[in-house]
Symmetry: C2
């Protein structure tokens, strides 16, 4: 079974697939008499295709058994989909350019301070978390139209075992 | 100085001011082969006035000195504004129906699992957190038009000192 190497999540590396939602790289604006900083436009929401609108959801996830088998991929042809972790704990992101091309798969280790916003139509694996009960705020699309495609991989791929020491972050 | 009592944040109590963004009360949909639950439509985003669009921001806040003085209020006449905590830590929400009426002020203790979505035009006090470096994902409006009103209170109000034992939540 082919193994996907896990690399750090950075804006540059993730750019072909969407946006990293994080404080780094945004221009801070001091507000609230100095008691807060605002970082604007950390993600671009793209949900207007076929009269779609923004859907705010909460996802609650539990870990899959390791080593994790990547047996399928999914994508949302009508809208972007943003996942923001609600706890400071590392998680994993798996994407690809073409599910039929094993060489196009990428796996990213996201810190608990990093969300991602999958660009419209980006192939991705479902949410991968490292502990039970992890929660994410999700900003995606609701509305008419078929916004989910799923494909089963002809040959499953695998992720390396994610060490416990990497499972929490500041 | 008039004191605002702090009450628990519940959907019913907060309904005149907007929505509580939380898992409770939403209908769970099991997805991802049983490894996740999706709770849809936990907030309604209202940003389309005057051709506005969704803005995704990160706020980073630090605590104000206690007792906290409520000296001003603000509101966004063109859009809703959603705050979701990115750490499991209690925070405070202060709103009012009319800044000129001290009796109309309400203060709510939110758990770290609760966000709020201020309805368009709801008077509120800026972000109140209990520890330095707290982060929130914010979903509000960008676009043309004047979307901020601020008013200074003729007589400041005060919050009771928030005990340290109340500052973290599961």
């Amino acid at each position: 079974m082919g193994m996907i190497r896990i690399e750090p999540l950075t804006k540059a590396a993730f750019a072909p697939f969407g946006e990293v939602v994080e404080s780094e790289g945004a221009t801070p604006i001091v507000i609230n008499e100095g008691f807060a900083t605002r970082l604007n436009s950390v993600a671009r929401i793209d949900v207007s295709a076929e009269d779609g609108h923004v859907n705010i959801a909460i996802f609650e996830a539990k870990p899959r058994p390791q080593p994790i088998a990547i047996t399928m991929m999914e994508r949302h042809p009508l809208g972007s989909q943003l996942f923001m972790p609600l706890q400071p704990r590392n998680w994993l992101v798996v994407v690809c350019a073409d599910p039929a091309d094993p060489e196009s798969f990428r796996a990213f280790a996201a810190s608990g301070a990093q969300g991602v916003n999958y660009a419209r139509g980006t192939w991705h694996f479902p949410l991968l978390v490292s502990a039970p009960g992890e929660r994410f705020l999700v900003v995606d699309r609701a509305g008419a139209g078929q916004n989910l495609e799923e494909v089963t991989l002809p040959k499953p791929l695998s992720l390396p075992v994610f060490p416990a020491s990497d499972r929490s972050s500041a």
